[in-house]
Structures are given as structure tokens and as C-alpha cells.
């Protein structure tokens, strides 16, 4: 169930402006650091010992590849929110309001009319 860990990454990074800035600037660095240094901790003392990303999950997170994340069953709200935070302002300045959101939807157009991958864990 490492898609849980993917969701945990998206949840924690989206909620922390410093981590979000690192994820935008250098995703490979932030994903590698988070997977081993931040993600496992339940609190300052207790650690989960068995969670990690698969290669596909790690590559998708590093590539900001929201299509693959959708297809792996990452939660749609977490993916949308974090990639809006990273891309929306730049897209809007270049191509107008909602241009990032519409491109995001268009890149998933091959799922139109089909049953989406489940986000249930």
C-alpha cells in the first residue's frame, strides 16, 4: 500500500511552504530527502519502519507526473492541489486563468468515459 505513502508525501509537502518550494525547485532532492528523513516519522520520537516508494511512484513524484499519479490511485484532491500550487501562477501569467487546470484535465482525457483508478486504500 505504498500509494498511502505517496498521498502522505503530497499531503505533507502541500501543507508546508518550505517543503513546497523545495519540491518546485529541485523535486529529486526533496523526494529523496522526504522518503527517508521526513516521511517515516509519526512524531518526533516514533518512526514507521516499513514504508517507502516503488520505483514508479518515486519517478512520478520527481517528474511532477500527475497523469501517472492519477493512474496509480493517488488521491485526486492532493495531486490537484499541490500541482496548482506549483504551476498555476506561471501558467496563468503566460496563458490566462485556469490554463494549467485545463491542460491537467486534457492530459487525462484518455480516461473520459472510463472507470477511474480507485483512490480507496
Amino acid at each position: 500500500m505504498s500509494i498511502y505513502y505517496v498521498n502522505k508525501f503530497l499531503f505533507q509537502v502541500d501543507a508546508d511552504p518550505e517543503l513546497l518550494a523545495r519540491y518546485k525547485a529541485d523535486p529529486a532532492e526533496l523526494v529523496a530527502w522526504w522518503e527517508t528523513e521526513r516521511g517515516p516519522w509519526l512524531n518526533r520520537v516514533e518512526r514507521t519502519t516499513w514504508l517507502g516508494f516503488t520505483g514508479t511512484e518515486r519517478r512520478a513524484l520527481v517528474a511532477h507526473d500527475y497523469v501517472t499519479l492519477f493512474e496509480l490511485g493517488a488521491h485526486f484532491f492532493l495531486s490537484l492541489t499541490i500541482f496548482i500550487a506549483i504551476y498555476d501562477a506561471d501558467y496563468a501569467a503566460r496563458s490566462g486563468p485556469l490554463s494549467f487546470q485545463r491542460e491537467y484535465g486534457a492530459n487525462l482525457a484518455h480516461w473520459m468515459g472510463k472507470e477511474y483508478p480507485s483512490v480507496a486504500l
Partner: protein
């Protein structure tokens, strides 16, 4: 016994405040109409003269996550902070400090347990936009104590539509039995058809305009039989991957009961349709 002075079921579009306070040259074409509709809807709560608001919403992975996501949760606190960093960042929502009502929270919690709803309870709940958006639209002074109730419409597996209706019925009976002279209004928010992070997101309308009109009609007529015969988790997914927020509107109708609504309005916006519904189960305010 307490008076249930109004029940409101509303969508919670997080961009309402931003859209209606932007400089005129940056406003979307529907902003003025949207503001007029929201202000007219607000009046349906104002005239009910509530003393306390029972607020129903759902945490959007702001405080709660899948390490421990509550199916149903009530807050029991003297005060509640509201609005998370990433909501201010994305939606431009301000922070709030809302008063709580610990007595009604405690009475509600015990009443729910007694009726077979084994709620979680939080004593350090922070409120997200599912409750702050309806505060902004229906009670912007944010001057009334709240009793917040959260449901899981978000992290499957989810409770059934019938369970949301039954929960609404239970909340109603608890308010009816509460030994108080105060006037309680219930205000809850959810969605009509909605797609987030999928191929149908941010279209010219909501992802399923036909569902939206049918859903409003079910709410208008108090037609719980029609809802339970037609609305399933699968049918809601078919209308849009985040449509399950409709179950919180079913819950609100459960508080009102199977009666006709006194006020119904809606607005077709990009991305989603807004719905504004009010019931007066104890009669319209004079």
C-alpha cells in the same frame, strides 16, 4: 426545548470571496449575479434569528489524513481557529477565530452515541473551507457559536447515502430534545457534481449538469426516496469523481425531514453548479 429555526444546504465554492472582491476589471462576468444570489440566500438565515449554528462539512485533508481519518467527527471546544495555510494560498481565504458551544457539542455527542452513531470527538479541531465558505456566504459577521460536525465524503470507503440521511435525522431529534430556549440553525455544505484532478475538471459547467438539476429537484421536494433509489457511490462517481460531497446535502435534508424546501436557488458557474437550499421545519420565520 430548543427551536430548529432553519436548515441550510449549500455548495461551498472556495473562490466566492476572491471572485466577488476582485477589482472590477478582474472580476468574472458572473461575479455580481453570484454576489446577489448569495446575499439573498444569506437573508434566509438572518431572518431565522439563530443563536447557534450546527455546521456540517468535511475536512479536505487539511487536519486529517489517512493515518487516522474519522468517518464522523464532532468538535467540542470553546473556540475554533479556521483556514489552513494552503487554503489561503489557493483560495485567498482569511483566517477566523470562531466561538464554540461546548454544551451543545457535548449534548450532541452523547445523543449521537445513544442513537448508534459512534462519533469521534476532537478538542483541537481547526476548521477548513467546508465550514468557512458557508460562514462567509451565510453569516459573514462570524458572530455565532458553532458546533462543527465533519463527515467523510472524501477518503473511501465512505458511508452510504442512507447513513448520511439517517445521521441527519438523528441530529434533528437531538436538537429537538435539547433542553434550551435557544434557536439553533443547521448549516451544511457539500457539492453537486464535481470533478477534481480528473479529465472533466474546470469545464464550462459542472461535469454532469443533468445530475445537478435532478439533485436540486430532490432537495427542493424533500424526495429522499428518489435519492435513495438513484444515488449510489458508483452513480456519484459517474457524475464526477468528487460528487460524493452531495451526501452532506442529503444529511442536511435529513435534519429538515422529507419536506419541501422554502427557498431554492442555483447558479451555473464554470467548473460546478452552485445550489442554495433552505428549509424551515418549524414554519417560516414571521
Amino acid at each position: 426545548m430548543a427551536t430548529l429555526s432553519a436548515v441550510l444546504a449549500t455548495t461551498h465554492h472556495p473562490f466566492y470571496l476572491k471572485a466577488t472582491t476582485a477589482p472590477p476589471e478582474e472580476r468574472m462576468p458572473q461575479a455580481d449575479e453570484w454576489k446577489r444570489k448569495v446575499e439573498a440566500y444569506r437573508e434566509t438565515l438572518t431572518v431565522a434569528k439563530p443563536d447557534i449554528l450546527v455546521m456540517v462539512g468535511a475536512d479536505h485533508f487539511h487536519q486529517f489524513f489517512s493515518d487516522n481519518y474519522p468517518t464522523f467527527l464532532i468538535g467540542k471546544q470553546p473556540m475554533y481557529d479556521a483556514t489552513f495555510y494552503n487554503e489561503t494560498r489557493e483560495f485567498g481565504l482569511p483566517t477566523f477565530l470562531l466561538q464554540g458551544h461546548e454544551e451543545l457539542s457535548g449534548y450532541m455527542l452523547q445523543g449521537l452515541l445513544d442513537r448508534g452513531f459512534d462519533f469521534s470527538v476532537s478538542h483541537e479541531l481547526k476548521i477548513d473551507h467546508s465550514i468557512i465558505c458557508p460562514i462567509i456566504t451565510t453569516r459573514p459577521a462570524a458572530d455565532l457559536p458553532i458546533v462543527p460536525i465533519y463527515t467523510n465524503i472524501f477518503a473511501p470507503p465512505l458511508p452510504s447515502p442512507k447513513r448520511f440521511w439517517d445521521l441527519g435525522r438523528a441530529i434533528r431529534s437531538i436538537i429537538d430534545e435539547w433542553p434550551s430556549d435557544l434557536r439553533v440553525a443547521a448549516v451544511g455544505s457539500g457539492h453537486l457534481s464535481l470533478e477534481l484532478g480528473g479529465p472533466r475538471q474546470f469545464g464550462e459547467t459542472g461535469p454532469d449538469p443533468e445530475f445537478d438539476l435532478q439533485a436540486i429537484e430532490w432537495l427542493r421536494t424533500g424526495d429522499i426516496d428518489g435519492i435513495l433509489a438513484n444515488v449510489t457511490h458508483e452513480s456519484m462517481s459517474g457524475a464526477g469523481n468528487a460528487t460524493h460531497g452531495f451526501m452532506d446535502l442529503i444529511l442536511m435534508m435529513g435534519i429538515a425531514g422529507p419536506i419541501e424546501a422554502s427557498y431554492v436557488d442555483s447558479l451555473d458557474l464554470f467548473h460546478t453548479r452552485e445550489a442554495y437550499v433552505t428549509w424551515y421545519p418549524e414554519g417560516a420565520p414571521s
